[in-house]
């Protein structure tokens, strides 16, 4: 990501060349005018540099040091070269966690985008009363703080008298009386998935619905008259128009779900967290912060940040392009 090329930069230069150039005297006002944007962004840049830039630089340094509780108090680590990285990369748990996190991310993103899209399509089919109701429900789900949502999930899924077990048993899905949802890693992560997807769907529905409302009725109707089935209409008419929105939503969801922490951390509960259910964020927290091995934790953080930066290049480029169009 270099800032060497500005799209439309040539057009801007041409415009400047056409504009008649008057020689204006150097004045204090002109200097102020030229430096104004820099003065305006200075505070934000300063805060970010101090609170994020410096720690990131420090993180890179830490990852090459032995830095535990002793070093934290002494404010001084001992350099160990690449030892932290090789320890992490030789830890089979790291690779297990990485694969698990990737699978978790794929499942969560697919469910979020899939269900979200179906709901957005449904919104175009229902009567206005149902649409308002459904939208209200989505906004309610959206507005639940993640920590609060976790507590509600814990209450709904508790083994003794959780409403989920009751409902599943009485809907004859199977015998779920006294079913322990926290018994296996798969079950724990599935529960986490349900929580994450529930919280993430509203954003997708609202965004896709907004995109769908740009698709003209005539186009869809014409395709229907030509005998196209619902799936064909979606695939060949609707989807191409909303495709850019899907690309952005998908890349955002990948980034968010890969780095998920609060929901699995609190729902699975610290007492149950172990090598068989850790996701990357939690692995990093346990290895670095809980075991106070900050050097090794730093190495894991750097690896995680690298993975996410690769994942987010597409999104960042897209957004930068939109941002650059204006002004």
């Amino acid at each position: 990501m270099t800032s060497s090329e500005i799209p439309g930069g040539t057009a801007y230069a041409a415009e400047a060349a056409i504009r008649p150039r008057r020689r204006r005297p150097f004045t204090f006002a002109r200097l102020l005018r030229a430096s104004a944007p820099y003065l305006l962004i200075l505070p934000v840049v300063a805060v970010i540099a101090a609170i994020l830039g410096y720690p990131l630089y420090y993180l890179a340094r830490l990852s090459f040091q032995k830095y535990g509780l002793f070093e934290l108090i002494a404010h001084h680590g001992t350099s160990v070269g690449w030892a932290n990285y090789s320890s992490v990369l030789h830890d089979h748990v790291f690779w297990q966690v990485l694969v698990r996190t990737i699978v978790f991310t794929i499942a969560n993103v697919a469910l979020t985008i899939g269900i979200g899209t179906l709901l957005a399509l449904l919104l175009t089919k229902v009567s206005s009363v149902v649409r308002i109701l459904l939208t209200a429900g989505l906004v309610l789900a959206w507005s639940m703080p993640p920590v609060v949502a976790v507590q509600v999930w814990v209450w709904m899924t508790n083994t003794e008298n959780g409403v989920l077990n009751y409902a599943l048993t009485n809907l004859h899905v199977g015998d779920y009386a006294q079913h322990d949802w926290y018994a296996s890693s798969f079950s724990q992560l599935s529960l986490t998935t349900s929580l994450v997807v529930w919280g993430a769907i509203p954003f997708v529905v609202v965004t896709v619905y907004a995109g769908l409302s740009q698709v003209s009725h005539e186009l869809v109707e014409a395709a229907e008259i030509d005998g196209a089935r619902a799936w064909r209409v979606f695939k060949d008419v609707t989807f191409p128009i909303v495709k850019p929105i899907f690309l952005i939503l998908t890349s955002l969801s990948i980034i968010w779900d890969f780095g998920v922490f609060t929901q699995p951390f609190l729902l699975i509960d610290q007492t149950r967290i172990n090598a068989s259910n850790e996701l990357m964020g939690i692995y990093l927290y346990e290895e670095g912060y809980v075991k106070t091995d900050f050097g090794r934790g730093a190495a894991i953080s750097i690896l995680m940040l690298l993975i996410v930066s690769v994942l987010s290049i597409f999104y960042v480029r897209k957004m930068v392009r939109t941002g650059d169009e204006a002004a």
Binding site: S3, Y12, A36, P37, L40, I41, P43, V44, V47, I51, P55, Y58, L59, Y67, L122, V126, V130, R131, L133, L138, V139, A141, S143, M144, P145, P146, V147, V148, Q151, V152, V154, W155, M156, N158, E160, N161, Y166, V196, W198, A200, I201, T207, L252, I255, G259, F261, L266, G281, L284, Y289, A298, S301, M304, L305, V308, Y315, V320, G323, A326, A327
Partner: protein, 278 residues
């Protein structure tokens, strides 16, 4: 043809209603459980709607140790973070929306890129660096941490609002003899006020909901924020006071739900991209 269409709409409506029930149920269940007496909560058969609502769980929740500390700390952290961020973000947004300057693109990359950083990946460096400057277990440490996350999306969102203001208005003000600064404060500021309010609310929600950094950076129970207080509600065992837990959850969710309903209409694509999510 028309009859068939009406029938199919009925089917879609039925599916829509069913999905509404599923999606909204957790929120309903939280609020309903908060008002239920203990025998209804602990019974094997759930009570869908309590005929004997009680406020006792709310009393228990607010009388639980450190509830008021949590609320107070959250309010301090949120208000200081939002106030400082709005001033600084507004200035930077003006630069982005009204000026073209070298380094503008690099600044945009910075603003967008930061929002993509996984927070878990920043626990270690922020903890170590803040510990070094004695900012661990201090609200000030949490405030500056939150600012680094609130600033980028606030700049981005405010920039969008500023772009929506026609240049002619600003120019008209300048022709009238106002200085650029005067044009900003008298013409731009009132126009951008709704945007500032909406952005502040988004900032409020993100900050109020934040959990990881508050948990890692604040150790004393008296220093914890409301979300951390709630996360410790059931302790380690799951022999829980469900009514109290749901009452506490409701109390912490209410400000967010109210604010969310206020800004709901402003939820446009550009506004929410990368800004608010769990």
């Amino acid at each position: 043809m028309r009859a068939r269409r009406r029938r199919s709409r009925l089917v879609w409506d039925a599916i829509g209603l069913l999905l509404f029930l599923v999606i909204a149920f957790p929120v309903y269940w939280m609020i309903a459980s908060a008002f239920k007496p203990d025998d209804e909560l602990n019974g094997l058969t759930p009570t869908w709607f309590s005929l004997h609502p009680t406020l006792s769980h709310f009393r228990d929740a607010i009388n639980k140790p450190f509830f008021w500390d949590g609320v107070k700390n959250s309010l301090i952290v949120v208000s200081v973070t939002v106030a400082l961020s709005m001033v600084l973000a507004f200035l930077a947004a003006v630069a982005l929306a009204k000026f073209r300057f070298t380094g503008r693109k690099a600044f945009i990359v910075l603003i967008i890129g930061i929002q993509m950083l996984p927070q878990a990946g920043l626990i270690i460096p922020l903890y170590v660096v803040l510990a070094r400057y004695h900012q661990v277990n201090a609200l000030s440490g949490v405030i500056v941490t939150y600012m680094t996350f609130v600033l980028p999306f606030s700049v981005w969102v405010l920039r969008g609002f500023l772009l929506g203001i026609p240049k002619e208005l600003e120019e008209a003000a300048m022709v009238d003899g106002s200085s650029r600064l005067g044009a900003f404060s008298r013409i731009l500021l009132p126009l951008v006020a709704p945007g500032l309010v909406a952005t502040s609310i988004f900032a409020f929600i993100t900050t109020w909901n934040e959990y990881i950094f508050a948990r890692v950076l604040l150790n004393d129970q008296s220093k914890q924020t409301a979300t951390v207080w709630l996360s410790y509600f059931y302790g380690t065992s799951r022999n829980t006071d469900w009514g109290g837990l749901m009452a506490g959850s409701t109390l912490i969710a209410i400000p967010v739900i109210v604010f969310f309903l206020i800004v709901q209409r402003k939820i446009g694509f550009g506004l929410t991209a990368g800004a608010v999510r769990g």
